[in-house]
């Protein structure tokens, strides 16, 4: 039997292993999608609840609401008062955390295999009956303000926020996930409750329970139904109209003058990962191109700018995974005494070389192997497997990550070159963001 995700284009076919475990998918009558994965590789279970609600779902007066609400989910619900979620988690030998992105918000718990149902009780309770006490909200606002201050004090975070804002303007991706000091000041319990009501409903969520489900799928499903089954479905709300990203039409510069080290983020908008519901070939090719550029010590940028060129202390490239639009970026730190202009010139030269000429088969095969290894290493742990599956299901479809990797590895040298040419096309433009020494 042939696995459809075997890449046959390369000299040596590469098998992309699927996420391990016996998987079942269910949908409760209230719309909650549930993925149950029995994988006994370790005696642990991760429960991850993903909501398709992030910064891009905030209204004009709700800047930072998605992230602020994420904090408030730990500050009290009907059965679990302020601080109780953490106390109970710790007392059960587990850990929990959450994060918010522009697209989604995820909450996760990891427990030993006999303790995970507690996570379901907590998640169901705060989905259905979040408290949002005014005093707790006011106190947590201060915490978020400190979080903003923390990121503003980190040179890379500060530069990244500036570049992102310039690249996307009023488009949701241009808005900071944490909001601003001003926008947070306008958010109180009622605003957060409205956001919660709109988005934190079963039909807008995916629950993943993955790990050593020793009592079986049926038991796990029964527990999910007991805890989530009675929650009302709620109604979907119309999305807010979203501003388009500005047409740049050129490489624009932004500068920040702080500190002693020169740091660069070069960023360009590229078409997102999906095209007609499937993986966009040019996106997949650009992902492999990014590995050719900076995946491993033998990669082009690593050699030209770091190990051989000795212009930078490090360099990396990255491609975000937005459905409609994505960001291709290169980040680097310049060595003391080296001219930033010289680095910029060399960086563009390397990018243009890949844009104008396809890589050789040997170089491509190296990049494929590195990317395949990245996929395997990134999904070794139960927690990682649960998060990959949740990400796929909430934003894309099952096996999206593996399909993307397969498409990427199958990309031809010509496709890589064309994708890089599109990413650095001066007619589309992008942002050249520098953080430069004050003196």
């Amino acid at each position: 039997m042939t696995d459809p995700l075997i890449d046959l284009s390369g000299a040596s076919p590469l098998l992309i292993p699927p996420l391990p475990g016996e998987r079942q998918h269910h949908r409760l009558s209230n719309g909650l999608r549930v993925a149950l994965v029995h994988n006994p590789q370790a005696p642990v279970v991760t429960c991850a609840l993903w909501y398709r609600a992030g910064t891009r779902d905030e209204g004009p007066q709700e800047g930072g609401a998605a992230h602020f609400l994420e904090h408030m989910m730990f500050k009290g619900s009907r059965r679990f008062g302020p601080g109780v979620v953490d106390r109970r988690t710790q007392a059960h030998g587990g850990t929990n955390n959450a994060f918010t992105s522009h697209e989604a918000t995820a909450y996760y718990f990891s427990f030993a295999r006999d303790r995970w149902p507690l996570a379901l009780e907590i998640e169901a309770d705060r989905m259905e009956a979040l408290t949002l006490d005014p005093d707790e909200t006011a106190s947590e606002r201060q915490v978020v303000l400190e979080e903003i201050a923390m990121y503003e004090g980190e040179p890379w975070d500060a530069l990244e926020m500036k570049v992102q804002s310039e690249l996307y303007g009023d488009h949701p991706y241009g808005k900071p996930v944490l909001g601003t000091r001003e926008s947070l000041g306008t958010l109180g319990p009622e605003e957060l409750r409205a956001f919660h009501r709109r988005h934190y409903r079963p039909g807008n969520a995916v629950l993943v329970v993955a790990g050593d489900l020793e009592a079986g799928h049926r038991y796990a499903l029964e527990r999910v139904e007991q805890t989530f089954g009675a929650i009302e479905a709620g109604a979907a709300s119309a999305p807010f109209p979203q501003a388009a990203a500005p047409a740049l039409g050129e490489w624009r510069r932004v500068e920040r003058r702080r500190g002693e080290t020169a740091r660069l983020i070069l960023a360009a908008r590229v078409p997102g990962v999906l095209e007609g519901g499937d993986v966009r070939p040019s996106y997949a090719a650009l992902q492999l191109a990014s590995t050719v550029l900076s995946g491993g010590r033998a990669s082009r940028l690593q050699r030209r700018l770091v190990d051989e060129g000795q212009l930078c202390s490090w360099v990396s490239s990255h491609l975000t995974e937005g459905a409609e639009t994505a960001t291709f970026s290169v980040s680097l730190e310049v060595l003391p005494g080296v001219s930033p202009a010289r680095v910029e010139e060399e960086l563009f030269a390397v990018l243009q070389e890949l844009a104008s000429g396809p890589p050789g088969e040997r170089e491509l095969e190296r990049a494929r192997r590195v990317q395949l290894a990245d996929w395997v290493f990134a999904n070794e742990r139960i927690h990682q497997q649960a998060m990959t599956l949740g990400f796929d299901l909430i934003l894309f479809q099952e096996d999206h990550g593996r399909r993307l990797t397969a498409a990427s590895l199958a990309s031809t040298p010509q496709a890589l070159s064309a994708a890089m040419a599109e990413a650095v096309d001066p007619r589309s433009g992008g942002i050249i963001g520098w953080s430069l020494p004050e003196s």
């Binding site: 059960h92 202390s313 290894a373 290493f377």
Partner: protein, 412 residues
């Protein structure tokens, strides 16, 4: 004298990945030139008697393998992660990198230059600057009081010859520890290690050139001043408050009880510890607030660390909160329920530390390095079960000392 090597192997379930870890005692604590150990450790993959760094990188990456070399304050180490089918190549690479390094002059100079750049970059980051000042406060004049990577002046003197000499001195000073984990045939891997790291080959690797004595580090004294303020680089407006003192080494009998106390103070899985609960949850003063009791513990003592990042105007209030929470724990002792919860937490976390070949291989090397059966879950369980409220209270009174706190406040 070249001590015999020690090998450990383990078959693991899960991903088809094989991980090798190698270490030998030494590291920056034994260097006479700050930054030398770090450059020497990184230099292991900069060229061998068979290949230069480019060929090494290309050959490894052609199989998707990842090779990392480096040094800590107490050890020099190598890690290789690859697809399980390539385990023979992994053993070959380990042999080549560990026994045949040549430390090319130009590559070592480049690594030193790169390290100097990283130091400059870190000097731009307020939290890192504050943490460095705190470590200096605790450890002066011991090497742990300065960055592992050294300083700009000393790095100018690090070259290939210095790395070669340091390598020979280190390698002869203690046993080479090697571990391999993954879905492997344990016997075959063990045979492979014995063949590639035989006493004869180890002796050959150190045969050429003179060996230099390892430096004896100065004793840890610390700065006697209880409190000091440092000026932070102008990046943001947050203050960083650190308070702490030295505690015990990794192998100390009270180490496990101190880990339990760390969870009670704020090293647990959420924001339930006393420090984050008060500083963040109750008073809303910080986003990041935590506590450790064995930070950096190894052969040398670890440190109690209480930390919070906050607005400059609130730094004094945060400082008071950190100190008061420590005083309260020591004076009143931990509650029985807190001790039980902390033990349960640590027991519950244990399986997560043994999930992957990387984790298992690292635990095996650590076990050999510290002479503790850290890779045995039953040993770990026994250690934790021996910590009750009375033990925790005794250990808190002995090792957590508000009167000995050193407080470093980084201000914008």
């Amino acid at each position: 004298m070249n001590a015999p090597p020690e090998f450990r192997v383990a078959h693991t379930a899960g991903a088809a990945v094989v991980s090798l870890r190698a270490a030998w005692p030494g590291g920056a604590t034994a260097e006479s030139l700050p930054g030398l150990a770090s450059v020497m450790g990184s230099g292991l993959s900069e060229g061998s008697q068979r290949r230069d760094w480019r060929q090494l990188a290309e050959d490894a990456e052609a199989l998707g393998a990842s090779i990392q070399c480096g040094a800590s304050f107490e050890a020099v180490g190598l890690s290789i992660d690859a697809m399980a089918a390539d385990w023979v190549r992994v053993l070959d690479w380990a042999q080549e990198l560990l026994l045949e390094p040549v430390f090319p002059h130009d590559r070592c100079r480049w690594l030193a230059r790169q390290a100097a750049a990283e130091l400059e970059s870190m000097a731009d980051q307020p939290d890192v600057v504050a943490q460095r000042a705190f470590l200096e406060h605790l450890y002066l004049p011991h090497p742990r009081s300065r960055p592992l990577k050294g300083d700009e002046a000393s790095l100018q003197r690090v070259d290939g010859d210095a790395c070669s000499e340091f390598y020979r001195a280190h390698r002869a000073a203690g046993p080479l520890l090697l571990s391999v984990a993954g879905p492997i045939d344990e016997e075959a891997v063990l045979r492979g290690l014995e063949e590639r790291f035989s006493p004869r080959l180890l002796a050959q690797a150190l045969a050429s050139g003179p060996s230099r004595e390892l430096a004896t580090p100065p004793k840890i004294e610390g700065n006697p001043q209880r409190r000091r303020e440092v000026k932070l680089p102008a990046q943001g407006d947050q203050a960083h408050v650190y308070a702490g003192h030295l505690t015990v080494p990794q192998s100390h009998p009270d180490a496990t009880a101190l880990q339990v106390l760390a969870v009670i103070l704020g090293a647990g899985g959420g924001l339930h510890g006393r420090i984050p609960h008060r500083i963040r949850e109750q008073e809303g003063l910080a986003y990041s607030a935590y506590a450790h009791t064995l930070a950096g513990a190894g052969l040398a003592p670890g440190r109690l660390t209480l930390y919070a990042g906050t607005a400059a105007a609130q730094a004094a209030r945060v400082e008071t909160g950190l100190v008061e929470e420590l005083e309260r724990l020591v004076e009143e002792g931990p509650e029985a329920a807190e001790v039980e919860e902390a033990r349960t937490f640590l027991l519950g976390r244990d399986p997560f530390l043994r999930e992957t070949p990387r984790q298992v291989a690292s635990l095996m090397v650590d076990s050999a390095f510290y002479g503790l059966p850290m890779d045995d879950p039953e040993w770990r369980r026994g250690q934790l079960e021996a910590v009750d409220r009375e033990v925790a209270e005794r250990v808190a009174r002995r090792w957590l000392r508000p009167d000995q706190l050193r407080i470093t406040v980084g201000l914008p």
